[in-house]
């Protein structure tokens, strides 16, 4: 997965988990240790896809405008990259058996990757992140009390 896709998913997670707030690219960038400049480009693409909207001015930033239950990771990734690119034959009409064999292997891996990303919605991500946060908090509390 390319860096822009990962950033987009992190940004959407931040925005979708804070539906009542506008969040700046600086704030998201700080949290995920990435430049605001790179993030701004990502947000532009997400805005064009209708997943976020920007509010200008003091206290402005971005808010989530998509449907977290309907938006899958694959929906987001496909905004930034062609996920079939790793398994394309340069010219199928003259491809050797070795190239076809490699194509089949790459396609198998790609199919698994795409179906995994397609099966995970932002809502599912949020649910699992919340659960992970709870477990981490509980362990931290237990360690502090030990």
């Amino acid at each position: 997965m390319q860096k822009s896709s990962r950033l987009a998913i992190f940004a959407l997670i931040e925005l979708a988990s804070n539906p009542d707030r506008q969040i700046s690219t600086a704030e998201i960038g700080d949290k995920y240790r990435v430049s605001s400049h790179h993030l701004a480009k990502v947000m532009l693409t997400l805005g064009r896809a209708g997943l976020v909207q920007s509010i200008r001015g003091v206290g402005g930033g971005y808010s989530f405008t998509g449907n977290a239950k309907r938006t899958t990771l694959q929906d987001v990734i496909s905004l930034f990259e062609d996920t079939t690119v790793t398994c394309k034959l340069p010219d199928p009409s003259i491809a050797t058996s070795a190239e076809w064999e490699m194509f089949n292997i790459s396609k198998e891996i790609n199919d698994i990757s795409v179906s995994t990303h397609r099966s995970i919605t932002l809502s599912t991500m949020l649910k699992h992140i919340e659960r992970r946060d709870q477990i981490r908090a509980r362990k931290a509390s237990e360690a502090a009390n030990a």
Partner: protein
């Protein structure tokens, strides 16, 4: 088996309990509504198998509205069993069927049935639950994912004998 009333989305209370042969029509009707295929004899055999052989390790649950009268339709079913030693695996729970009425989806019925069957597995000492889903079956893939399942240590492999 613990029968319990589960809260789902607005004002729908569920009773999730083990299927009996008296539920045959309800189960078959539910499945026929979803798949369009009447498989009455298949379901009769399935209910009989779960009830009479390795009954303590096989679980066939039905979700109904809380007022569990004969006339109430089945809203969902889930079936699983403990299987062990195949493919070098220790015994674990397998869910091999789960269905929710098309008109009642996204109301938490699948989730409540999943929790109920996991409790059954847990009660007999199982810590791992598995299932198998077609990669292109996005509805079921998304459902099991949302319940916390992820890829396990096994990969399913197959061969088309006609291409060999």
């Amino acid at each position: 088996m613990v029968e319990f009333a589960a809260k789902t989305a607005p004002e729908l209370e569920l009773l999730i309990r083990k299927v009996t042969i008296d539920d045959l029509d309800l189960v078959n009707d539910l499945d026929a509504r979803i798949t369009g295929v009447d498989k009455r004899e298949y379901w009769r055999d399935m209910i009989d198998r779960v009830a009479t052989r390795r009954a303590g390790e096989r679980f066939f649950l039905i979700a109904k509205p809380c007022n569990d009268t004969v006339k109430c339709p089945a809203l969902g079913i889930i079936i699983g069993e403990i299987r062990g030693w195949e493919f070098g695996s220790d015994p674990c729970g397998w869910i091999f069927a789960a269905s929710v009425d098309l008109d009642y989806r996204e109301q938490g019925i699948g989730e409540q049935m999943f929790k109920a069957i996991c409790e059954e597995f847990r009660a007999v000492g199982t810590e791992t639950v598995r299932t198998m889903v077609r990669r292109d079956d996005q509805i079921n893939m998304s459902f099991f994912r949302s319940e916390g399942m992820s890829a396990g240590p096994y990969t399913q492999l197959e061969i088309n004998l006609n291409e060999r």
